[in-house]
């Protein structure tokens, strides 16, 4: 199965810009399906980012984050080829992890 995480991390002269897209339904628990039954909430709670094994950024999300979440941030340092580890877990205990290389 392909990874649910798509990353684009570009190392600039002094900062690295990270953009990530995660495939996830992010069901809020307020939406009904076409039969009128509520779709139970199912959303990512935590996304962690570590550069060279050192945590740089942590996202805590609630159900109000859009489906297939997008996130952008930047950190100081980073050079081409450095590993960036990304992992997410959701409220049902599912998750995924990947290691990207800085571009």
């Amino acid at each position: 199965m392909p990874s649910t995480i798509r990353v684009r991390a570009i190392a600039g002269s002094d900062t690295t810009e990270v953009q990530v897209l995660i495939q996830h339904p992010m069901d809020s628990g307020f939406v009904k399906d076409k039969n009128g039954t509520l779709i139970p909430s199912h959303y990512i709670e935590t996304v962690t980012f570590a550069w060279n094994g050192k945590p740089v950024f942590t996202a805590y999300w609630g159900p109000a984050v859009s489906k297939d979440p997008y996130l952008k941030f930047a950190f100081k340092g980073g050079k081409k080829g450095d590993p960036l580890q990304i992992a997410w877990t959701d409220n049902l205990g599912q998750g995924d992890a990947t290691t990207a290389r800085l571009l």
Binding site: S41, A50, V65, W88, G93
Partner: protein, 172 residues
């Protein structure tokens, strides 16, 4: 909005989530000391459970309660916090928000949506060296304010902007 009980549906006990979260962290090769770096910058008053995910703050329905559960601090409006949101969002399911600030020592950034069933939408922890420049996409149930909170040097700063939503993003 609607019945209170629905939101707890499908939720597994925290213990299981913590275990799995722990596995994910271990998979990242984060040692306990490394993970502690983020927590050190966090005010002691904040109610953050062991898993790190601020469950209580995400369960609050009012802005003030979410703020209290999240930081235990009062926010001071600041023009140094630049929040970029659309004036009109045609689709409340996908509202792009982004924040930059010139404040130094930013350790956390949070986004709240005043008109949502639960006000807190997203909360980010920044390690030293991480830039205070974050973008993401949020759902908005109706026309209301997006509130950005920035924790910098142990003090909390905020700014807010109204977004007009023509089609709500929380269904129903």
């Amino acid at each position: 909005m609607k019945d209170d009980t629905v939101v707890t549906k499908g939720r597994h006990p925290a213990s299981r989530r913590q275990v799995l979260h722990g596995i994910a962290l271990a998979g990242l090769g984060m040692v306990a000391g490394g993970a502690g770096v983020l927590d050190a910058a966090w005010p002691a008053a904040a109610a953050v459970p062991a898993s790190g995910w601020p469950q209580q703050a995400f369960a609050q329905k009012s802005e003030a309660a979410a703020l209290k559960a999240l930081y235990g601090l009062a926010a001071e409006p600041s023009d140094k916090v630049a929040l970029d949101v659309p004036e009109i969002a045609e689709n409340g399911a996908v509202v792009p928000v982004s924040l930059t600030t010139s404040l130094p020592d930013v350790s956390a950034i949070s986004f709240l949506v005043s008109g949502n069933p639960f006000t807190l939408a997203a909360s980010y922890r920044l390690s030293p060296g991480t830039e205070a420049d974050v973008s993401c996409r949020l759902k908005m149930a109706k026309t209301s304010d997006v509130i950005a909170l920035v924790l910098a040097g142990g003090k909390l700063y905020s700014t807010r902007k109204q977004v007009k939503v023509t089609l709500g993003g929380c269904g129903g």
